[in-house]
Amino acid sequence: MSKLALNLKSLQKAGEKSDHKFEIRDYLRLDLFPHFLCPGCGHGIALRALLWAIHDLDIELDQLAVVSGIGCSGRLSAYIDANTFHTTHGRPIAFATGLKLARPDLHVVVITGDGDCLAIGGNHLIHAARRNLDITCIMLNNEVYGMTGGQVSPTTSLDRYTTTTPLGNQEPGFDACALAKGAGATFVGREVTLQTTALKNLMQEGLSHDGFSFIEVISDCTEIYGRKNELGSSPEMVLSQKRSILPKFDGTAVDKPFRAGNWDTGVLVREDRPEYYKAYRKHCHKVLGTAAVKK
């Protein structure tokens, strides 16, 4: 299937709606508002898409656990009216692994950033992908350490300015989806915040997948990265996303595209492989005999 067709397919899924309308307020802890994100920050769009996907899947908030790391991305969990865990920098996947193994009945979603997931937490990402425990990991890639004031990250594009690359970044970045795929993730997808419906649909598919699903969201740090690199206003930054993705649009909203690469979007990997917890339990019962196991 061509990439374009894949993308259209995910757009069509938008038609499959749950019978009650999505109201984001039903999913938020409104007493914590105003929220902490800068105006125009892409992370807010990602949060909306996630809650919308949760709505469309009719996931009960009581049964939802959101585990986040440290970063602007990590702060999102606090706004979700579910069981939320704001953990440590780089480790939300490891926390989520323990939580899901102890409570396979919960839907466990990880929210992480590019620094959180690929730098300090890279080891946990690849091992989670290998194990294939049923967790959905949503990585918000804004190419920068937003929270700590705009330092270089493992996804910063070449020549971009950050507070620790004052002369322009010369380190090559990770392709996070390729990394997750290489490590054995059974569901991998990428989407831009510009295409919120497609993003929501992708998240819905990731959440429904039985195994480790990894979703990279191309998000914008408008206030720090955007300003530092003169990428325009936040609407301009979001619009420029379409020049960095495949299939390409003709948009010429701003001179400099935010992303240097030509990113594939949509579902990139979908595979069937035994889910880790179920496989572990089944195997133990098989070897020991179900009767021998005492609860």
Partner: protein
């Protein structure tokens, strides 16, 4: 069905695993490291038999994180490690202390610093066990001296952790961890097991960090409808972050006070020949075994010497120590490090009492002869 106590020949680390299972531990996450690996190996065998989960994580940081994730899900959980791994776990031990997540950490001490001497015993983590993670924090450290006691104190570690919602460290050295001895495993029904208090009552207006009389808040279980927020940021009774100075002093103050106000229930020690003692030996772990022998031998030659063996290293049995310090004229602290526990003893002794140590950090246990010689020298 009630059973008779069973006698089994067990290695210290295996006794630890069986104690954990008896205490209700149903998830172990760890990373292999000498001299603790037998704990993990035994857990990997036992847990599938009780519908629990064993997982070997990618490193010690992940192991500790998985233990916390599991405990926050409501399952009693544990990890086991040694020096280098214990260092890696520290950030998450702090998270457990602040977010009040019950968990048990087994630290089987080997020679340090750094990779040190993986197969040699040491007692060099006395201070790290107390202060390894940053910031002021509550923590409990128990320290067994025998294989039997590893079994019992592992159970107690879970009970304390559940009762006070603090991380509890079981600290012992390689010599005891690898010692094989006959252990009496009690009838499971006779073992006292404590479970954490679970939140109950209406979800509306529920405050996850509002403490009861004992200073400990009941814990919300995911799925029970409370939908709370857990964070490593300093947080209010609501669970959400604060930096307001008055609020911070209140909430951190309560955390620290949780241990202080319950000291009597937490502290444990054992006294041998202390009634008329003029010289007091304070020792724990393998060193307490040598010291006990030395004290008995010294008594045979008429020296009035006694032994205090703390079973809780932190909080240190402070009141008892002060009381004994008022009675003796000399305190001797043998330990397999360059002098860590002695700092606490010196703090608790009046100027009239002389405090001295026997220190070894060469990977060899301190033998009874060494302690006896020192006792004799002091008694002159």
């Amino acid at each position: 069905m009630s059973q008779m106590p069973q006698r089994q020949s067990l290695q210290g680390n295996q006794a630890c695993a069986l104690g954990a299972i008896a205490a209700g531990c149903r998830l172990f996450a760890g990373y292999p490291i000498t001299p603790s690996s037998e704990v993990a190996e035994r857990m990997s065998k036992e847990l599938p038999r009780v519908e629990g989960v064993f997982v070997q994580m990618e490193d010690e940081i992940a192991s500790m994180a998985a233990v916390l994730g599991s405990s926050m899900g409501g399952v009693k959980s544990m990890t086991a490690t040694s020096g280098p791994g214990f260092s890696l776990k520290q950030e998450h031990i702090g998270y457990a202390a602040l977010a009040e997540v019950p968990c048990v950490i087994i630290n089987v001490m080997r020679g340090g610093p750094s990779t040190g001497m993986p197969t040699r015993p040491a007692q060099g983590d006395v201070m790290q066990a107390r202060w390894g993670t940053h910031g002021d924090h509550p923590i409990i450290v128990v320290t067994p001296s025998s294989v039997q006691e590893i079994y019992q104190l592992t159970i107690r570690a879970f009970n304390l952790s559940e009762t006070y919602r603090v991380p509890v460290i079981v600290l012992y050295d390689e010599a005891i961890g690898h010692l094989v001895d006959t252990v009496e495993l009690p009838d499971p029904d006779s073992i006292e097991i404590q479970d954490r208090k679970w939140a109950s009552g209406p979800a509306e207006g529920y405050l996850p960090y509002a403490a009861d009389e004992d200073g400990v808040p009941p814990m919300p279980r995911p799925g029970d409808g409370y939908r709370t927020h857990t964070t490593g940021l300093t947080h209010l009774e609501t669970g959400f972050p604060t930096q307001v100075p008055a609020d911070v002093s209140r909430v951190i103050g309560r955390l620290l006070d949780k241990i202080e106000r319950n000291r009597d229930a937490i502290e444990q020690y054992e006294l041998t020949n202390c009634d008329d003692a003029e010289i007091l030996v304070v020792a724990f772990g393998i060193t307490a075994r040598s010291s006990e022998r030395a004290v008995n031998l010294a008594r045979e030659s008429g020296i009035k010497v006694g032994l205090m063996r703390p079973l809780t290293l932190w909080p240190f049995p402070e009141r008892k120590m002060k009381e004994l310090a008022g009675q003796v004229r000399h305190v001797l602290v043998p330990e397999m490090n360059a002098g860590q526990l002695i700092l606490e003893i010196e703090r608790l002794c009046p100027d009239s009492v002389t405090v001295s140590g026997i220190n070894r950090f060469d990977g060899l246990p301190i033998d009874p002869g060494e302690v006896l010689d020192k006792i004799k020298e002091i008694s002159k």
